[in-house]
């Protein structure tokens, strides 16, 4: 939209403490925006969708970039940890490979050096690549606001396209993941218009672990970019809990995953194509994760 290079005019403020952030948000209201990686914010500012007067950099708050694994508490990832930082963390790789794969699938290497996990989640895009992993790994989003800290489970976080449970005046500080079930395996299959770098046409995450269901295994399926929000395909999961794992059950589950989706036509793909791809990616994901179970 702008013919000359650069960004619209605004004031940059680097916040020192979370309370300072809350104070600034309260003081400036709608014309203040939080800055983490800037990879969504600046793009939208240049396109004219957002016009903040104050941009509050929260990357440097204490703990915002920390990634800490504890054998009891699980994994805590600071909201400003970059995708590359998440992806190359040895504890993430060892215990949460689904999240590692999701983080690695975002955009390009240089964007992953700036884009943050928190930013990806709080922008609430239905196509957010880390969202299905957050859902399947039962992540909890930690928010800090005027009333202090609260946690929102990932499955209550995404409310609509671009809309999350985060309130105006709140700051995301971390995402917490419980210790994953023993012997679990997961895959994130992302389909774009090219092999890498694109936004998802459809993203399917599959997670599995041995459990006391009728089938002996617990499957979780997450979908991105094929509905107004990232979501779990719960009926597909029920099919997988009730019947012996194998091609027949996987085909049925893939159909249920398609039914859980409600994609739209857009520049990247048609709704019909997306539905077909949900089926294929779910099938592929189930086969690959099942192979890891044996």
């Amino acid at each position: 939209m702008l013919a000359r290079p650069g960004l619209p005019s605004f004031d940059y403020v680097r916040a020192g403490t979370p309370d300072e952030v809350i104070g600034l948000l309260e003081e400036h209201g709608e014309v203040a925006r939080l800055l983490m990686g800037g990879t969504d914010l600046f793009v939208r500012m240049r396109d004219g969708f957002i016009r903040p007067k104050i941009v509050v950099d929260v990357k440097h708050l204490s703990g915002m970039r920390d990634i800490i694994y504890d054998e009891q508490a699980g994994l805590t990832i600071g909201a400003a940890a970059t995708m590359n930082e998440v992806a190359r963390h040895p504890d993430g790789q060892a215990h949460y490979p689904l999240l590692t794969e999701a983080a690695n699938s975002v955009a390009s290497y240089q964007l992953r050096n700036r884009a943050t996990l928190g930013g990806n989640l709080c922008n609430g895009s239905p196509a957010a690549d880390t969202a299905p992993a957050a859902l399947l790994l039962e992540g909890r989003i930690v928010l800090y606001g005027p009333s202090g800290e609260r946690e929102v489970p990932a499955n209550e976080f995404f409310l609509g396209p671009g809309e999350t449970a985060m309130q105006a005046g709140e700051l995301m500080t971390a995402v917490r993941f419980p210790v994953p079930p023993a012997h679990s395996a997961g895959r994130y299959l992302k389909l774009g218009r090219n092999k890498a770098g694109d936004l998802a046409i459809a993203g399917v995450a599959v997670f599995c672990f041995p459990d006391g269901t009728d089938s002996g295994y617990h499957f979780r399926i997450g979908l991105a970019s094929v509905a107004p929000v990232p979501l779990r395909a719960l009926e597909a999961e029920e099919v997988l809990a009730a019947s012996p794992p194998g091609e027949e059950t996987f085909v049925l589950a893939a159909e249920k995953a398609v039914e859980a989706s409600s994609p739209i036509d857009d520049v990247r793909a048609s709704a019909a194509y997306r539905r077909a791809m949900v089926r294929n990616l779910t099938l592929r994901g189930l086969r690959e994760v099942w192979a890891q179970m044996s």
Partner: protein, 155 residues
């Protein structure tokens, strides 16, 4: 408008600058320091023509504020060679005709340079993955990938 005093090291030179909040690192490099090797291709983090190293890691400088670069070490394409001595990577680009119009080349070199630092012997697939964020409209990429691999095997 608020001006910020920043200290940033660019290609080994320490620069003391006053920058407005909304200036990007890309603008700082091109307009304040006349380092025009780094290019503006899309201003949206898609094309990679603006790629520079920030504290050793490639970033799209169009999406980094100048003020965010305070205290950082920046390397641009101008900072790769030692005087007249091209790096093996740069020489490989020349030798393998990996440059046509040259617009993508600075960004490609920075991304590839960073790749070879972290993965000295990348496979073809790894080279392509590392360069996903650097678009080229001229070469069709093959010679660029070849040049990177040749540079890897020669060092």
């Amino acid at each position: 408008m608020v001006m910020h005093s920043i200290v940033v090291t660019v290609n080994g030179e320490t620069e003391y600058l006053a920058v407005p909040s909304n200036m990007t690192l890309l603008q700082l490099l091109r307009e304040k320091l006349a380092l025009t090797g780094t290019k503006n291709g899309c201003e949206a983090g898609e094309c990679g023509a603006c790629t520079v190293l920030m504290n050793g890691e490639p970033v799209n400088s169009c999406l980094v504020l100048a003020v965010e670069a305070d205290g950082a070490e920046i390397v641009t394409v101008e900072g790769l060679a030692e005087g007249d001595q091209l790096t093996p990577l740069q020489q490989a680009f020349v030798d393998h005709n990996a440059v046509q119009c040259g617009f993508c080349t600075p960004g490609m070199l920075i991304s590839a340079h960073a790749l070879l630092k972290r993965n000295p012997q990348p496979t073809e697939e790894e080279v392509k993955e590392a360069l996903v964020g650097n678009l080229c409209r001229c070469t069709g990429y093959n010679r660029i990938v070849q040049a990177v691999q040749k540079a890897a095997y020669s060092t």
